[in-house]
Symmetry: none
Subunit: 206 residues, 4 copies
DNA sequence: TATGAATGAGCTTTCATTCAT
DNA sequence: AATGAATGAAAGCTCATTCAT
């Protein structure tokens, strides 16, 4: 009896277990130090089974990377063609990152340490994700310049670098100092800091 | 008089050759994919000699890392205890990074891809460098708040994250897109972009 | 019934093959000159598989060493607490060594050249084996002194050194001169020589 | 002036320094773990100079080995053709070994751990030394059998193995337990133990 | 699907020896 | 005689990947 269970726990169950285990191990050890056998052990499955679900270690990493970027893009794509309200849009991006600390802390960590930088893992696909992000954000910035929300004397590409860099700097610091945001209030304070400086500047305003 | 140093073949010659070769290879391949024998070949010396000058591959990386940070700290420490002029100080930091693109492009690349992030290479010494940078910058920010140059409603630590993040975002983008600043004018424009947004904000100011 | 063990290819098959191959190669080349790849080739398996069964070359040696000592101790421990008959006991020890020449010539060789001496391979575990042997034999000697079988004017520890030394001297000579005992009669003659001298002395007795 | 000093400190001084340093280092680390550069440092001379005095590490070991054996043989050869007094002769051999603990403890150690056994260092020359020792001792034993001092029912070769084995067993134990003989009385007791058992046996004599 | 034994290329590091000075 | 920089072969170990079952 209980044949059903073998149906319920289909391909996806194991695959997800491997995925999660990989996130955990890669977060702890880094991609290069992450061992397939540790991922398998962590996932509670056998060594070789990893290769039934993922062609290689590299592809497993790609899957994680793709998952992360999908999340990011779903936020940005949600803006659609709508004009205006750039602060609201950027706030959404900031909050997306901050929220990930709670829902998927491993992935934030991996993003900072393994995806965001590091020649090591640099394939064309991975570079393309960045380019896409930058392009999308540049559109947002350019649109906001067109609508008069943002100043025109700085290239939209530059604004993109500055905004994303500031955000990433913040996130990285939280990762490296192991201080994820611990409350909604703190997230609000952080988001406000980033957005205030980006929009109004850090100079004291008399 | 003064025999040319290239004739004297002092200890430093070979050591420097190894150092430079390591920068080149690590930049191209990343630390993990960088092979000692490629570094040796690049330096024009034998395999074993690398180990005559550096105890291990890891220590060779440490030497590069240390060299980089010394440059950064010499800029910041140059500020001394002097009060005021925070914009001038931050401009100096920005220009230091931009100037490195010309003088030591390999090291900028390595900083972005291998030093700045990546758990892989994370030792205590390397973490300490970051902490030191952040602490020093936080002092600068706090000082500027005290003197009324910067707004008080955002923590100096946050300002640090945002400023350094924005700068690093810029530098990283230039590295990944392989677009180093090509002229003084361009550097000026970039520096101005970062500083303008940081101090005055990106909002259009009517 | 009972499928032949050679068909089942259990874990033990390969492990034993490696063990035997290691004995052969270490005997021929010595521990330091023994190469893992030669052991693997000799065992008919791949290089990496050695490390599947043994954590390191050193641990492989430990396994051999342990196997040897277990044999020795099983003989001595077989004496139990029984009193008397010291000559029978020492004869058992002598015969154990002589018998090993037939059943496991490689191990005798290794014992003489690699285990018995040589600081090189000296770990705590290995020293402990010696200490244990000496302590056990000292008990036997002391017991025989108590029961009046052995003279009391020489310390039991000294008797131990002399007896084991004489035995080992014999075994070593046979190893180095490559003259293992070739018949039961010869073994008897050798054992008798050792025991006779140890118990009655080499002086001519008129 | 003082040219003379360069003559006084001739070839022999440095060579002896290297020799002694090698003894010390090989004793501590074993032949394989002994590093040329450590020997040089210990001798207070430069790395490459070792190779002016000794063709190779192996030859340096040979020199030590030769030195040791010369001492041993000078004792045995001192017996000349004289007949009789076998106990006095064997006593001389025993005392030679015991005395070396004081005069050249390093060499005793090396003899036990590196010369006496260990396939590692086994060259034809080294094997020949052993053969020579055994042959000489066999002559002594045979002579003593001829003169009626020793029993005839045990082959002289066997007596040799037993006697030298017992002696070496003793010496080895002192080396491994790091308990060299500390007084003349103790040496006497040890020598007496070996000789008494060898000549009269360990049986209690009623 | 699932297992884990089996493979072997590839890497860092060591160190005896050589050699220019 | 003396130095120590320079050489490079060699070896142990790792680990992603494959494969027989």
């Amino acid at each position: 009896m209980q044949r059903s269970s073998s149906n319920q726990h289909g391909r996806r169950d194991k695959e997800a277990a491997i995925f999660d285990a990989a996130c955990k191990v890669i977060r702890e050890k880094g991609f290069h130090q992450a061992r397939i056998d540790e991922i398998a052990r962590q996932a509670g499955i056998s060594y070789g089974l990893v290769y039934h679900y993922y062609r290689s270690k590299s592809e497993l990493f790609d899957a994680i990377s793709r998952e992360w970027w999908n999340g990011v893009f779903s936020v940005i794509d949600g803006f659609g063609e709508e004009r205006g309200e750039v602060r609201k849009k950027l706030a959404a991006v900031v909050h997306y990152f901050l929220d990930q600390f709670e829902t998927r802390p491993d992935m934030v960590h991996i993003f900072v340490t393994e995806i965001s930088r590091s020649t090591v893992n640099l394939t064309q696909e991975r570079l393309d994700f960045f380019r896409k992000l930058f392009d999308k954000m540049e559109s947002v910035m350019a649109g906001a310049q067109g609508s008069g929300e943002l100043r025109n004397d700085i290239r939209p590409r530059y604004l993109t670098y500055i905004f994303l860099g500031a955000l990433e700097g913040f996130v990285s610091a939280m990762v490296f100092e192991n201080k994820p945001p611990r409350s909604e209030r703190q997230k609000e304070r952080i988001a406000n800091g980033i957005l205030e400086v980006f929009f109004s500047g850090a100079s004291s305003q008399e």
